[in-house]
């Protein structure tokens, strides 16, 4: 065992330790990002399911008033902090776009609910007839 051999071995081991530490730090960051994404997705999915069920069960009269619907939805299902919800009218298809967004990550869920596809406007038709 010579001094040169020990020095070279030391350089090799310290370099690989340094590189390995960097990779480990990236691994921790990636794992955290994946965990955050999963948690955010689950949180959004829960709110999404609740909002969808509410929209499927509610009696809506036509013409659909997205603002009144949003007020009722917010009263019935208060949102958790960090999530925003919007109901925007789609006049061409007589429906509303439900949008849920996680403010911190920008993760988005968006779906159209038309009056016909959701079974709304039954009471208005009955009244008309």
């Amino acid at each position: 065992m010579t001094l040169a051999e020990v020095l070279v071995a030391g350089v090799i081991v310290s370099s690989s330790c340094c590189a390995s530490l960097q990779v480990w730090s990236q691994t921790v960051q990636t794992t955290q990002a994946a965990r955050d994404l999963v948690q955010t997705g689950e949180l959004l999915e829960l709110q999404w399911m609740l909002s969808r069920r509410w929209l499927a069960a509610v009696e809506v009269r036509c013409p659909v008033d997205s603002f009144a619907l949003e007020v009722d939805l917010d009263e019935a299902l208060p949102l958790e902090a960090g999530i925003s919800r919007r109901l925007v009218m789609d006049h061409s298809l007589e429906g509303v776009w439900l949008t849920l967004e996680h403010n911190a990550t920008g993760l988005l869920r968006r779906q159209l609910f038309t009056a016909a596809g959701s079974g709304w406007c039954r009471s208005s038709r009955e009244t008309e007839s």
Binding site: A9, A34, C121
Partner: protein
Amino acid sequence: MLNCLHVSASRWHLSHHHRRKTGFVLPLALGTSVVLLLGSASMHSLALHGRLRARIDVQQHQRRDQLRSAAMAFAAQAAAPGQDCLLAWGASHWDGLNRICPKADLKALRAGQVGETRWRLLDWQPNGEQAQLQVVLVSSGSAAQLLLRRRDTGFQLRQGLQILPAVDVAKTSPDEVAL
């Protein structure tokens, strides 16, 4: 002569022992480095795989939302006056029903746009008070089958959605892609 052989053998043994003794640090260092780097690289690839899987889950949820939006748009078109005449039949019969259903809008039932996404009808099969709808998203080729229930206001989407194998829309209808 015998002494001479003995001395040379002892020298060879000593030099071989010396070589072996001086050579163990570098292989040990190299081995340690390989273990460290391989271990951290494999853990990193596992973490990347986990993040990729989480992203794919999110994209699948968003694709389902798009497919349900397309089905909702179809239901809205199906509720228009005159469409009942076509909807009583399976989609494969629609081409021959032009004269019987003059008020029906065949194009509106076969394709449309919902938000930024174009959709196309794959199949429609009515069955009593229910109907089975298959739609595809033109941009991604994602397809799904959904069930609808007949109401006095039209067809209402039921809960649930079955994802179908991806469809090559360019092959099935190149005109639609060109739009």
